[in-house]
């Protein structure tokens, strides 16, 4: 009752807007007016709505979900955490305390030698620093000495440093325009949303998990129906499962050693009457019948609450709570334990106030009811893969988990130190609580977690690995794709297909194309273009609002009334609030309030007719997307709205505020009828899509005409677009990445899509428009190989720059010595290798560097340990030059040299080595349709086919690439590109864009082609460049955007004659990096055996691997040794050299024999004459 009254009292503020009917846009009077207007208005096409998209992305950005989440953490969540644990008290004297009054994050800065200096992201990248801001708190604490206590206050006490997400509200880049960003060395197209930890960019991947605090009904392997709830409250995480096994209902909770009958639990919670339980589940006789066996099982000997508690106590796991010694009454203590578990662990999301277990009982009742529904009707089983049952955990939530844990650890640490100080009998100095706050814990904890990706939260026994990843900077699209990636929670090895399959509910939320191939296929997903992920919203005001909208409080209802046939249950964020008699009206009211902006735009209402529930959600991690609202099938967005938008008078937020657009989450979409186009709308339609191509993500958005391609081809392209070389960012040349691939002449695709323009791929392209002839040529084009025109390569096609970073540290040692850089010796033996060095001993920018050249003439002291040394002479140093290891026979250039100090105060030197490459045979190329291929041969221009207009292709692709791949989109790209170059207008190929005009139709393209004197089908009459005769067939020729992929022959080619060997086995090393040999493996050996090439096997397996000469004793069969003094072999077990034979053996074999001997096994060799 008390709760109810309170909420009513808190209501009036929210009540006002409701009474003010004119505020609600959907009021009947206004609705009529709109209808008239529509009749008068000219017929609109869907094209205009597209303009919303750039507007949307301007407001939200591509990685807004990350930024929102982090901003929410920094502005709200962190304050909540501190408020919940704001007091440190000494356990010796509770009057000595420290209280945190407020917490905030400062400006990103670094403190060097006591001086605080502001940071900007680019300097952090370059000098391996962490981009972090101080966490400042205001504290009130007790100080004093000799029993005299005074209360003191201190503001802006730094308790640690928080890594800052780029472009979040704490970042210096927040709200900066292009020119300001350029001044800070930042690329305006860079989306932000990542962290810089020790100079490396780290992304916290979006984590996908099952909804918390929701009832999920599923069937296990044995066919039993389970209802499970993963509860998560501030203090505890628990999983409660109710299972129907052999017709009886049990509770499974990790605190109990076995399953316990649910009826016993109900009795333990005070529901002693079976009738009440039946009423709570519902009075339908079918439910009672299903409940009967459980009631009977329990009814035999457990009747009262005490009996039930005793029973449950016997089922408790022993080790959980060791009985404490000082407990006077053991049995009541035990009963208390069961009560605590029922109160705090069992369904932890349902709170218990003043031992009132009724809400919990009702919750169980609802769970039971859902189980029975599922038994009676298999359709009622929940789909775990349904996106509405998923929550996405973003960086803000993950960091808040970590921060809370670290903050609590800090508090306990402070408490411990303070206690130990107070415990000292005589304290000389004045006691100051504030000085014991340690800051390194939080700083290091956050930094370590972000740089390793290991999320260890002790409280929840959480131990996640690989939460963060290094942001891929191989291509601009790769970076964007990385920011929208969603990591699954469950292990990848499981062979279930369900979670990997494409879910219909993914529509518009997750990209259907962008997923990796192989083991993570279908598990790792990517967000679609317009997806937004919600953050938490305050619950209390919403709850009181709902009560005012006619929700009948749970407390006032009997079990019977709860499931009355004419009412719906109201469930808010997993809490059962009560019931409502007119659910449809209730849902509509909430939606109106939301559209009017009176409650948060991300609150979702979902009327579930089947479960007779109204689900309302305001929790974080739900995926949602904007849709245009339609009244009776007529869009609320009119021409004048779009005109205002174009004129810049109106923004996307205005559309939202005025209730023209709203966000729907996956569950609420089920209550909506969404028309794809305005023309398809019927009177039942409630919403209209903004643009159909937004169902695709960033990576899939690059593909022109993806809806004409076979679906896996789009998936392949999504993976390959991330490997394409091109421009990475506007600041690419001032970056110092470990590996950077750039294209010398990147181009904007001739056939673009709207997505390309929206994400900025037209400004940072990764490919070139190549004129492609689809024909067979020279036989070097089989198996997807392409033939390239040498003249095109001469002129710069596919030319790329590879930048590699090298680094060197001038180490300081404990004995006060340090490395030094010596002046190069221009006359000595190494003069040739020191050519690139400047007089300071460091390679100079612009110098040509070859493999084995020295790039830093470093010397290290011979003695680095022990006592302090001063006055070292030249002889105390030994040379430790670092040499360049690049591709043999190639010359690279030192592009840039940067010197900086790392955090250990050592001097560091970074070198950027540049290598310009032109395509060669074996380099990998790909179009945007998942059609990859290597360069098969390079042909002179005069040998290339040509048309009578003088057009000569840049590359030739074999037509066999088409039939099996069915990439019709590539053919349309060719046609569109050809029309584009001939008429001078970029053509569009957005997904599903033909009806809305975002993709040119083939008819229109053909028309343009004919106009420009080409054949409508894109085929040309071609002459052979070798003979000059016309080719027998017309050749399909035109421009296609080709990407050069990062896999190049130069980085892969490898051969070895003789070379290094492994120490242990004396066999050749493995791998290109170690100049290893090519292994004749088991299968290759089998082939040779089958063929009978015994001498070849002998050569490959011994002569060219690890031959070893051994002395074998014919008498005992053991290995002897060779005595160099006596010049004979001697057997050490026979103690003589009489029967020694010399033979060759693989060293590995000798090793095996010796290892066996060491295990007390005697392997004896029996020799015979061959």
């Amino acid at each position: 009752m008390g709760v109810q009254r309170e909420s009513v009292a808190g209501f009036p503020g929210h009540n006002l807007p409701l009474n003010n009917g004119t505020q609600i846009p959907n009021s009947p009077v206004k609705g009529l007016a709109i209808d008239k207007q529509v009749l008068a208005a000219p017929i609109k096409s869907a094209v205009e709505k597209y303009q919303l998209l750039p507007e949307f992305l301007k407001v939200r950005g591509l990685v807004k979900q990350h930024l929102d989440s982090f901003n929410y953490f920094v502005n709200t969540e962190i304050k909540k955490i501190v408020r919940a644990n704001n007091r440190i008290e000494s356990s010796l004297d509770p009057s000595i305390y420290l209280r945190f009054k407020d917490i905030r994050i400062g400006e990103p800065s670094v403190t060097l030698d006591g001086v605080s200096e502001n940071l900007n992201p680019h300097t952090c990248r370059l000098s391996d620093m962490t981009y972090a801001a101080p966490i400042k708190v205001d504290v009130e604490y007790i100080e004093g000495s000799h029993g005299q206590k005074t209360r003191a206050q201190k503001e802006n006490v730094v308790i640690g440093r928080m890594p800052i997400m780029l472009r979040s509200c704490c970042c210096v880049l927040y709200g900066k325009d292009e020119a300001e960003l350029a001044r800070l060395g930042e690329c305006p197209l860079d989306p932000g949303g990542y962290f810089i930890i020790k100079g490396t960019e780290k992304v916290i991947l979006i984590q996908e998990q099952l909804s918390k605090n929701r009832i999920i009904i599923d069937m296990d392997k044995k066919g039993n129906i389970n209802a499970s709830v993963t509860s998560s409250s501030e203090t505890i995480k628990s999983k409660t499962t109710i299972q129907m096994e052999k017709g009886k209902l049990y509770l499974i909770l990790s605190q109990f050693s076995t399953k316990v009958p649910i009826m016993v639990v109900m009795k333990a919670m005070g529901m002693e009457s079976d009738q009440e339980v039946v009423q709570m589940v519902g009075r339908d006789p079918r439910y009672s019948a299903l409940l009967m066996p459980s009631i009977e099982e329990c009814g035999k000997d457990i009747h009262t609450k005490e009996q039930a508690l005793d029973y449950l106590e016997s089922k408790l796991k022993r080790s959980m709570y060791p009985p404490s010694a000082h407990a006077p009454n053991a049995s009541s203590e035990k009963a208390g334990r069961v009560m605590t578990i029922l109160k705090d662990v069992f369904l932890a999301n349902v709170r218990v106030h003043q031992n009132n277990f009724r809400p919990k009982c009702i919750y169980v009742g609802v769970m039971l009811r859902r189980i029975m529904d599922a038994i009676l009707n298999k359709d009622a089983i929940d789909d775990k893969d349904y996106v509405g049952n998923k929550r996405l955990e973003l960086s803000g939530q993950l960091i808040s988990l970590l921060f809370e844990d670290l903050f609590k650890t800090m508090i306990t640490d402070v408490k411990r130190t303070v206690d130990s100080i107070l415990a000292k009998p005589s304290r000389s100095s004045r006691f100051d609580f504030a000085q014991w706050i340690v800051r390194d814990n939080i700083t290091n904890g956050l930094e370590r977690a972000l740089s390793t990706g290991n999320w260890d939260v002790k409280r929840f026994k959480m131990n996640k690995k690989g939460v963060t990843q290094v942001l891929g900077r191989l291509s601009f699209i790769g970076t964007l794709g990385h920011m929208t990636r969603i990591n699954p929670q469950f292990e990848k090895s499981r062979k279930v297909s369900g979670p990997r399959a494409l879910q219909p509910s993914q529509w518009g939320m997750l990209c259907p194309c962008d997923t990796p191939e192989g083991e993570a296929c279908g598990l790792v997903k990517n967000l679609a273009l317009m997806t937004h992920v919600t953050t938490d919203e305050e619950e209390e005001p919403l709850i009181s609002l709902f009560y005012c909208l006619g929700v009948e409080d749970l407390e006032l209802l009997s079990g019977e009334e709860l499931h009355a046939p004419n009412s719906f249950l109201v469930i808010f964020n997993g809490h059962i609030l009560g019931k409502h008699r007119r659910p449809q009206r209730f849902a509509t009211a909430i939606r109106m309030l939301r559209r009017a902006g009176k409650i948060g735009e991300f609150v979702s209402v979902f009327l579930n007719e089947k479960q007779r529930c109204v689900y309302i959600a305001s929790d974080g991690g739900r995926v949602c997307r904007p849709l245009v609202i339609a009244d009776k099938g007529i869009s609320r967005i009119k021409e004048h709205h779009m005109k205002e938008l174009l004129d810049g008078v109106r923004t996307f937020d205005d559309f939202l505020r005025e209730g023209l657009i709203e966000y729907l989450d996956v569950n609420e979409e089920n209550n909506a009828l969404i028309a794809l186009y305005e023309a398809d709308a019927t009177p039942e339609t409630t919403h209209i899509e903004i643009e159909p191509f937004t169902i695709l993500g960033v990576c899939a958005g690059l593909i022109p005409y993806p809806h004409h391609n076979q679906s896996p081809r789009n998936t392949y392209q999504c993976a390959m677009g991330k490997q394409a070389m091109g421009n990475i960012a506007y600041n690419q040349l001032s970056r110092m990445d470990t590996l950077l691939y750039l294209l010398v002449y990147p181009q904007k695709p001739l056939l673009t899509t709207r997505t390309i323009e929206l994400v900025g791929y037209d400004k940072l392209g990764a490919g070139q428009n190549a004129t492609v002839a689809v024909m067979s040529y020279s036989g070097y084009d089989i198996e997807d190989a392409i033939v390239m025109n040498k003249a095109s390569l001469d002129r710069g096609f596919g030319r790329c720059i590879v930048m590699k970073r090298l680094s060197a540290i001038i180490q300081k040692y404990e004995n006060n010595t340090q490395d030094r850089i010596a002046r190069p010796n221009r006359a000595g033996n190494d003069a040739g290798r020191m050519q690139v060095l400047d007089d300071d001993g460091i390679a100079a920018p612009g110098e040509i560097i070859r493999p084995n050249d020295i790039y830093i003439n470093k010397q290290t002291p011979r003695v680095t340990r022990g006592t302090m040394v001063t006055g070292l002479t030249d002889s105390d140093f030994k040379f430790a030059p670092q040499t360049f290891k690049g591709p043999i026979g190639e010359s690279s250039v030192v592009d840039k040299v940067a010197l900086f100090t790392d955090k250990n105060n050592n001097m560091c030197i970074k070198y950027l080595i540049r290598h310009t490459r032109r395509p060669e045979v074996g380099d990998k190329f790909s179009s945007r349709h998942g059609q990859k291929g290597v360069c098969g041969t390079i042909v002179q221009q005069e040998d290339f086919p040509f048309s009578e207009r003088g057009i000569c292709p840049d590359l030739i692709m074999n037509p066999h690439g088409f039939p099996s791949r069915m990439t019709v989109g590539k053919m349309i790209e060719l046609l569109g590109g050809k029309a584009g170059v001939s008429c001078g207008r970029f053509h569009y190929g957005s997904a599903f864009g033909e009806p809305s005009g975002h993709a040119d139709t083939v008819e229109a393209i053909s028309h343009t082609l004919v106009e420009k004197g080409f054949s409508y089908n894109g085929k040309d009459f071609i002459y052979s460049g070798i003979t000059g005769c016309p080719l027998q067939a017309y050749i399909f020729m035109g421009p296609i955007y080709y990407q050069k992929l990062k896999h190049m022959v130069l980085d892969k080619m490898h051969a070895r004659g003789s070379g290094p060997r492994v120490m242990l086995t004396r066999q050749p090393t493995e791998g290109r990096a170690r100049n290893g040999g090519l292994r004749v493996g088991e299968m290759e050996r089998d082939c040779l055996i089958a063929y009978g090439a015994s001498m070849l096997i002998f050569e490959r397996l011994m002569i060219s691997s690890d031959p070893f000469e051994v002395q074998v004793c014919r008498a005992c069969g053991l290995l002897g040794y060779y005595n160099h003094k006596l010049k004979t072999g001697i057997c050490s077990s026979c103690k003589n050299g009489d029967n020694i034979s010399t033979m060759k053996l693989p060293y590995a074999c000798k090793l095996l024999i010796q290892e066996l001997q060491s295990m007390n096994i005697v392997p004896r060799l029996k020799l015979a004459e061959a």
């Binding site: 003249a791 001469d794 310009t916 009578e948 002459y1023």
Partner: protein, 318 residues
């Protein structure tokens, strides 16, 4: 076989000639001859292009190799190229490639002192030889000489500087496309279009119009007075067979008969500006002659007989 001559006397008729554009007819020869001429023009007519760049100062945004590559592709006036030596066969400098007989030196010095972006173009390249300079397009049609500043190499902002020395050498397009004097060299077979007038007369005006419009290029037209279909531009025909397909679709098979004349070619030559298009053709013929001479000169030797066999005998006879 012996004694019979296959010699033909090809005829050339020049249709259009500009400095960088040439259109001519080549008649009474076959595809191999025409194609040889085309191939030589693209790949074997020598020109001069920058081959070696020594960079003194480069603080521009483009890196050294990038600029060197761009410089190489700048066309240089190469009238002297035919008489120049390849630096690999140059005796004067021992193949060093730095003497006046086989190379031309260029200097480029540019620094931006203003707040406006400075365009460094081919005009900033100073040549040691006034006959070998970057190609100037200012006098050709369509360009306003006052605003045209040559081929852009790099843009400099305030304080950036570019200083370099470049050596241009003689070379051929086979080695690198920068030495190719030809932008476009292409030829087509001259089409022979014969309209079956009898059948054409059976068509209505509307059908004729449809048929004429079915060709993507304007080959046919209807005489406004006589309403007869006439061939206005046979060379616009691209061998697309659209009109033949259209005729078949109209049920008038054999309405028009189009064949390619096997022995006459229409050449289109566009030059990069390194040498005049007309000179390009003459040089190409010269180079072709030299190549044939090289074959002929070795005809006495036994190995040439082995190499060419019947062909050698044929050449000796012819």
């Amino acid at each position: 076989m012996e004694g019979k001559s296959y010699q033909r006397f090809p005829k050339v008729k020049i249709r259009e000639m500009k400095d960088d554009y040439l259109k001519f007819e080549l008649r009474e020869t076959d595809a191999s001859m025409a194609n040889a001429l085309r191939r030589v023009m693209i790949a074997e007519v020598p020109t001069i292009a920058i081959d070696l760049v020594e960079i003194e100062v480069n603080s521009s945004v483009l890196n050294d190799e990038f600029i060197a590559h761009r410089l190489g592709l700048v066309p240089l006036t190469s009238e002297r190229a035919m008489s120049m030596r390849f630096s690999r066969d140059c005796d004067a400098c021992d193949g060093d490639g730095q003497c006046e007989f086989c190379s031309v030196e260029f200097h480029l010095r540019a620094k931006c002192h203003s707040d406006q972006t400075l365009d460094v173009t081919s005009k900033d390249l100073y040549s040691s030889d006034h006959t070998v300079v970057p190609v100037d397009f200012s006098d050709s049609a369509g360009y306003d000489s006052s605003e045209n500043r040559g081929i852009i190499i790099v843009k400099l902002r305030r304080g950036q500087e570019l200083r370099l020395r470049a050596i241009a050498r003689k070379g051929i397009g086979k080695d690198h496309a920068k030495w190719s004097p030809a932008a476009t060299v292409t030829f087509m077979y001259e089409p022979d279009i014969r309209i079956n007038e009898e059948l054409m007369d059976t068509l209505t005006f509307e059908e004729k119009r449809n048929w004429v419009d079915s060709s993507p290029t304007k080959v046919f037209d209807i005489d406004p007075n006589t309403h007869q279909v006439v061939v206005v531009d046979p060379e616009a025909y691209t061998y697309d067979e659209e009109v033949i397909k259209k005729a078949d679709a109209m049920g008038k098979h054999g309405l028009v008969d189009i064949t390619a004349k096997e022995d006459s070619f229409i050449f289109t030559v566009e030059s990069t500006g390194a040498i005049k298009a007309s000179q390009l053709l003459l040089n190409a013929i010269e180079v072709l002659k030299q190549k044939l001479d090289a074959v002929r000169l070795s005809d006495d030797t036994v190995e040439a007989d082995d190499q060419f066999g019947e062909l050698g005998a044929h050449m000796r006879g012819g």
